[in-house]
């Protein structure tokens, strides 16, 4: 932890070589995200002591609020190919394991995930026994024009449903020189979700290895964070792939072209979507 205080702030770009960002590049990537996806916005901490000096005071972190999450990710069926990619992306313990062990574990993971039954639909009419109520209902004026909420399961109906919602934030991680994603969730009834509940919305059984609960550096609340230790490596691979594809598609008349660093967060969020597949933040028409 102390080491973090002694690492020099990157000023020259290692984006192409290592898949990391300087604070300036993080700012530019954030600006592009906000301008193309305006449901994201820059924010500053309310507590000035939480300000990061090397980031602009009004552009400290990115936030998107109240993102719907209708289903639990750990109840999804798993596509085997997809999981192979995500294994690379997510598994922070990969280095400590033998190759064959890894394959074995992947197969196991697949079967456990697919066998999980979907959660039963919430029984809206049954109140918990300790539900507090007003002493009387006399004061409430009858209003026939209120449309009754429907509680049909999300998949089968386009009717009104309640949903968990998440506030997602992206901070700049100085140690890993990458963006870092934080989750804070609310239940259908508006109460904050606990760690276990949030883990239900993180893909399969990786949640335990790649996520931790920590105090958010700007919000000061305990949040679930996706650990950034493999973000750079994965981004590097993605940047290479995109650069290659650009060349294959004909490139630009012999001029060597590279992916712009300010596209970083758009690519990054596409991958984060694989970790939290049911949290429906808007990625628009980005096609990678």
């Amino acid at each position: 932890q102390v080491a973090e205080f002694f690492i020099p702030v990157k000023t020259s770009s290692s984006f192409q070589e290592k898949g990391v960002l300087t604070p300036e590049e993080f700012g530019a990537a954030g600006d592009l995200l906000v301008s193309t996806h305006p449901s994201w916005s820059w924010q500053a901490p309310t507590d000035p002591s939480r300000l990061t000096p090397f980031l602009p005071p009004t552009k400290q972190f990115l936030i998107i609020k109240a993102v719907p999450c209708l289903r639990r990710a750990n109840a999804l069926n798993v596509d085997a190919d997809e999981e192979a990619v995500e294994d690379d992306w997510l598994d922070t313990h990969k280095d400590h394991r033998a190759q064959n062990e890894e394959v074995h574990e992947m197969t196991v993971a697949e079967s456990t995930v697919t066998s999980q039954p979907p959660p039963p639909p919430a029984e809206e009419d049954e109140d918990p026994p300790d539900m507090e109520t007003f002493d009387c209902t006399d004061a409430v004026v009858a209003d026939d024009a209120v449309c009754a909420p429907r509680t049909a399961p999300a998949e089968s109906s386009a009717e009104f449903v309640k949903s968990r919602t998440y506030d997602l934030t992206i901070t700049y991680d100085k140690y890993y020189q990458t963006p870092r994603v934080w989750l804070f969730g609310y239940s259908e009834e508006g109460a904050p979700l606990n760690k276990e509940e949030i883990f239900q919305d993180i893909f399969s059984d990786y949640s335990n290895k790649t996520t931790s609960i920590e105090t958010h550096p700007y919000l000061g609340l305990p949040c679930v964070s996706i650990h950034p230790c493999r973000h750079a490596e994965m981004m590097k691979r993605m940047i290479d792939r995109l650069n290659e594809r650009y060349q294959e598609d004909g490139g630009a008349d012999g001029v060597q072209m590279m992916m712009r660093p300010d596209l970083y967060l758009l690519v990054f969020l596409k991958f984060i979507q694989a970790v939290i597949p049911t949290i429906e933040y808007d990625l628009g028409a980005i096609d990678l």
């Binding site: 007003f134 209120v146 449309c147 009717e159 609310y186």
Partner: protein, 328 residues
Amino acid sequence: FFFAMSAPTMMQFEQLSCRLEVPFWFELERRKLHEYKDTMFPVTIWGSYSTAGHQQISSPVTVGAEGFTAPAASAFTFPIQGTLLNTNTVEELKRFDRQRLLSTAGADIWATIQDGRWLQKPGTLNRFVLLCHADLKQHRFLHCTGFPVLLPARPFTRASQAAPVSDTFSLDQQNTIHAGVGELRTSAGPDASSAFLVTLLQGSATVQVSPLSAWADDVGREGRTVWLGVADPCAQPTVAGWPVRNLLLALAHHFRLEGVVRVLCYREVPGRQDISRSIIVDVAVSAAEVLRGGEFQPTYAGWPQDNKLRTVDLSPLMDEEKLSSSSA
């Protein structure tokens, strides 16, 4: 066989919901401890909502820690003024005269209708009330939110089925409406653009967006069809959202309307040039039936129809906070 005629269908609306953020509760705790102490008085707070951007999930009114100081100014959201009443004990909360709290906010809305302010700032027709008790020792909150609505003596009825916006407006026209609403927001502010007019000139495909205050000029003029556009947080494909109600009542009362108002429930996906989820529904209103005979103001409703109190328990969060800061 006159009795075979079907009775007009009452318009129904989806009630707003409130999303009270955790930092809001912590700020309330702080203020209760250092400022309010044992006194109990209404406090003005602010929330905001956006139009429904999701296919299934209606947008809530969001209230954050900044709700104590200023209306939210973020892109795509509309501010909504609220009244917070925090009681000292659970018993006080349970016995509280809810209707009085709601009626006070409702009477404010009625006042903006009476003096015409609503025409310049239709956002003043939206309000919320938050009645709660904060248990500072246990970090536990009991609360209930209401959204005051002015009930017409006779409910509004539906004059047409709700239909997707594409049944009326082409994609080009939808884009023009989207751009027009954006311009109105830029020039007049979010408070003035939560409701607007969409005018179609007969014999051409030209649509234009104008501020609500142009109603008297636009409506009833030869060769024009006018829709009341309302920024709508409701996502249901056949149901109009809560903000439509007070607007219809204000229009009917102010302009002495007897007839049908075409309503465009405006649902923009925030940040996208996409209003295709908007719906259009025609509503029959009657100025003569806004107030009951002999009364000078309408009845106010808007609490949930049950008597339940919601609980938010932040003590686990405090424990986690302690754990994560001690392990750091």
